[in-house]
């Protein structure tokens, strides 16, 4: 058989077994109905276009320099070419992204700076820093020769996307909305990044999650949820690019949410219908008017869309950059108060005090997570009304339970410092409040000592006795 027939056979067979391969045609950042539905479709299209311009598509992402994302950049020269795969030598990995300002590079990822392809930019299909190779998305018309210089940029985003697609997307969704295909089977739900809020952080209550926080979660997992630990499967450099991609998705989501929220005020989905009822004008006239207003809004350089994006991204950038500065990381001003019976007693007294830490209101008198607030109707700050269902809700509108502290499962980490941060700064996006303003650091430590002792508290005096001689009867290992 000729080589061509063989190749065809291989392609057909590969296609038949490639059930898990990415379907490029379906890879797009879709707007979710939950935030987009109340917005007029023309305004939605504006948002879509804006995001496309600044972030691109999953397979053709744009490294928008405005954002504090480490997109990665490297220069090098071609060593050999094997079809579409190019083996290279890197001169240096540089963090200087100035040249990314050229629109070709920020979009395409690869630009030849010498040789037959000089000045031409190409989309990268894959990039592997350790293998020192890359592949272009479309075939190179003129193959690069040995020694051709090039610069690649945004490779972290591309490498990160591949890892994200493989390990994260099925729960967290293509655009990070926490609505991937397996998400509906999970409780708690996977995180929706689009609010830019991550729960378990080391930073203070007003700051975003730092890279280290995200890294800790991805590498250690979250016990008590479906988030598994990804180390040692993912290596250090893979973790780093994956986290950049997640941060980038979160920023994209934030901008999307903010834009839609803002446009909803003037361009609600039912605006044409409502106005038509009120003014008796024809719907098509109003539609035309909406289109015109939108056009003006997009074109207005000082008060229009551009200005709004400027403000939102400005805030976002300083928030994300702030999370990386040392002074936003919560470090207890005093060392842990020795874990004594007295300290635990003091902690417990604070825990049950209804005008102190107020822990009891949600976590209940014995820390089982059954405080009275879990049976009450709660106010919804987003709408001003009350939630339909009783119990606590988080910023994503999901019903959540206060932690049952008797189980000894600590989602945000079990180290004393983790608990200190949780108690002192609260948990972002949840009703768990920061107590730092009213409770002294020493008292927070008392609370930590008490909370850590709850799983070992004895329910009855009889059990207390059994516990004190533990080690003999319930010792493992000598069954036979």
């Amino acid at each position: 058989m000729s080589a061509r027939v063989w190749r065809l056979l291989v392609v057909v067979l590969a296609g038949a077994v490639a059930g898990c391969a990415e379907d490029a045609s379906q890879m797009r950042f879709a707007q979710n109905a939950d935030i987009a539905k109340p917005v007029h479709r023309k305004a939605r299209a504006v948002v879509e276009k804006t995001l496309e311009e600044h972030f691109g598509t999953p397979l053709n992402s744009v490294a928008w320099l405005k954002l504090p994302v480490n997109y990665g950049k490297a220069e090098g020269k071609v060593k050999s070419v094997d079809g579409r795969s190019v083996i290279v030598d890197f001169n240096a990995e540089t963090s200087d992204l100035e040249s990314l300002k050229s629109p070709e590079l920020s979009r395409a990822g690869l630009l030849f700076t010498s040789g037959a392809n000089q000045g031409k930019s190409f989309l990268l299909a894959s990039y592997d820093a350790s293998e020192k190779s890359f592949e272009t998305l479309t075939a190179l018309e003129t193959a690069p020769a040995e020694g051709d210089q090039f610069v690649v940029a945004g490779q972290n985003l591309r490498h990160g996307r591949k890892l994200y697609a493989r390990h994260c997307q099925h729960c967290h969704g293509i655009n990070g909305d926490g609505d991937g295909t397996t998400a509906k089977y999970l409780n708690p739900r996977p995180r929706d990044y689009r609010l830019g809020i991550f729960k378990f952080t080391s930073t203070n209550k007003d700051t975003k999650a730092s890279r280290d926080d995200l890294k800790r979660i991805v590498s250690q997992g979250i016990p008590g949820t479906y988030m598994p630990a990804f180390v040692p499967m993912l290596k250090e450099n893979e973790l780093a690019v994956l986290i950049e991609y997640v941060r980038w998705l979160a920023m994209r989501g934030e901008l999307e949410v903010q834009l839609l929220k803002d446009l909803k005020n003037d361009y609600a989905a039912d605006r044409a219908r409502k106005e038509a009822q009120e003014t008796k004008a024809s719907t098509s006239d109003i539609e035309k008017q909406i289109a015109k207003q939108l056009e003006e809004y997009v074109a207005n350089p000082t008060e229009g869309l551009a200005a709004f994006i400027e403000t939102v991204t400005g805030d976002m950038v300083s928030a994300w950059e702030g999370a990386e500065t040392a002074d936003t990381v919560i470090m207890p001003p005093v060392p842990r108060v020795p874990d004594t019976a007295e300290s635990r007693e003091r902690g417990k007294a604070l825990f049950v005090k209804t005008d102190g830490g107020k822990c009891i209101n949600c976590h209940g008198p014995t820390g089982r997570g059954n405080g009275f607030q879990t049976e009450d109707f709660q106010k919804n700050d987003a709408t001003g009304g009350f939630y339909e269902k009783r119990g606590l809700h988080d910023s994503w509108g999901e019903q959540i339970k206060p932690r049952d502290l008797t189980r000894g499962i600590y989602r945000g980490g079990r180290r004393p410092i983790d608990l200190y941060r949780r108690i002192s700064q609260g948990i972002k996006g949840t009703p768990m409040p920061p107590v730092a303003a009213t409770v002294k650091p020493e008292q927070v430590w008392d609370l930590v000592n008490y909370v850590l002792s709850v799983p070992f508290e004895s329910a009855s005096p009889k059990a207390a006795k059994a516990h004190s001689i533990a080690g003999q009867p319930n010792e493992l290992g000598n069954a036979n």
Binding site: Q220, P223, P232, P332, V334, I417, E475, L476, G477, A479
Partner: protein, 272 residues
């Protein structure tokens, strides 16, 4: 067509012989089974496996060649009549007794290895008495609980227990036992380099012992399809010297008690 079947049945034993020869003569090709086991018991398991493989190979080649011969002879001479053996008492005795003897031999021969691997009463005493860790499989990770240095592992978590995930550390050159549990569905604790494989069954605590004989990082994977994230259960076994093992536990302890002021270890530092 008669010739075809004849050739067909002879072809496979020839392939088997050639493959066995090449793979054992040129080990660098990597066609043979994985290299030597990290544990002595694993080596004995391998030996059992190879014994069975040799018997099966001999039987396979023998029967295929016999079949090829019969077909070839029948396709050549039209005059020779077939001999119908149906009902032959002595033949039936032969093909019942010979495999029975082989199977009985295997059943008895492997008993001590099996007992050592599976029956708790035969586990080395020092491993049995002081399990080093409790490994809890869950979708999709391995959560590990060690007793504090100098303490014994208890059935219930203790305040000073140490925790890690996806990285099981064990000392080398001494038998160690772990307690295997599952939090949700069935998983399988698989250490391919150590020839250890044991299902983790929800509701049960299953002891496993092994004695790593050299240092290194070895795969710890799940060998039971446990859900859509099955592949994510790729952890590692760190076999290290007693000194390194102690140091690891100390570091874990320091990490776990980190309050932002205590001498932070490497991991804690990163977190700052």
């Amino acid at each position: 067509m008669r010739k075809f079947w004849c050739a067909f049945f002879v072809f496979w034993p020839i392939v088997a012989i050639i493959y066995s020869l090449i793979s054992s003569l040129i080990p660098s090709l990597g066609w043979w089974f994985p290299g030597p086991s990290v544990t002595e018991l694993g080596q004995r398991i391998d030996n059992l496996f190879y014994l069975i493989l040799y018997i099966v190979t001999a039987v396979f080649i023998g029967t295929q060649i016999a079949m090829g011969y019969v077909l070839w002879r029948a396709s050549h001479s039209k005059d020779e009549r077939a001999w119908f053996s149906h009902g032959s008492h002595s033949l039936e005795v032969i093909w019942s007794v010979v495999p029975s003897v082989i199977l009985l031999f295997l059943a008895l021969y492997q008993m001590d290895v099996w007992a050592l691997f599976r029956v708790q009463a035969y586990f080395p005493k020092e491993a049995r008495e002081a399990p080093v860790a409790e490994v809890t499989a869950r979708q999709f990770e391995w959560r590990i609980r060690y007793p504090a240095p100098g303490k014994k592992l208890q059935l219930k978590p203790q305040p000073d227990d140490l925790y890690d995930v996806n990285d099981l550390h064990v000392p080398i050159n001494r038998p160690v036992m772990i307690q295997l549990r599952s939090e949700d569905v069935q998983h399988s604790f698989f250490l391919p380099h150590l020839r250890v494989k044991q299902d983790a069954v929800p509701g049960q605590i299953i002891p496993i012992w092994f004695k790593a004989e050299r240092q290194g990082l070895f795969d710890l994977t799940c060998a039971e399809l446990c859900g859509w994230g099955h592949y994510k259960m790729r952890a590692q076994l760190t076999a290290e010297t007693e000194v390194e093992y102690e140091a690891y536990l100390k570091k874990l302890q320091a990490d776990q008690n980190y309050d932002g002021h205590a001498t932070p270890s490497a991991v804690a530092k990163k977190d700052e």
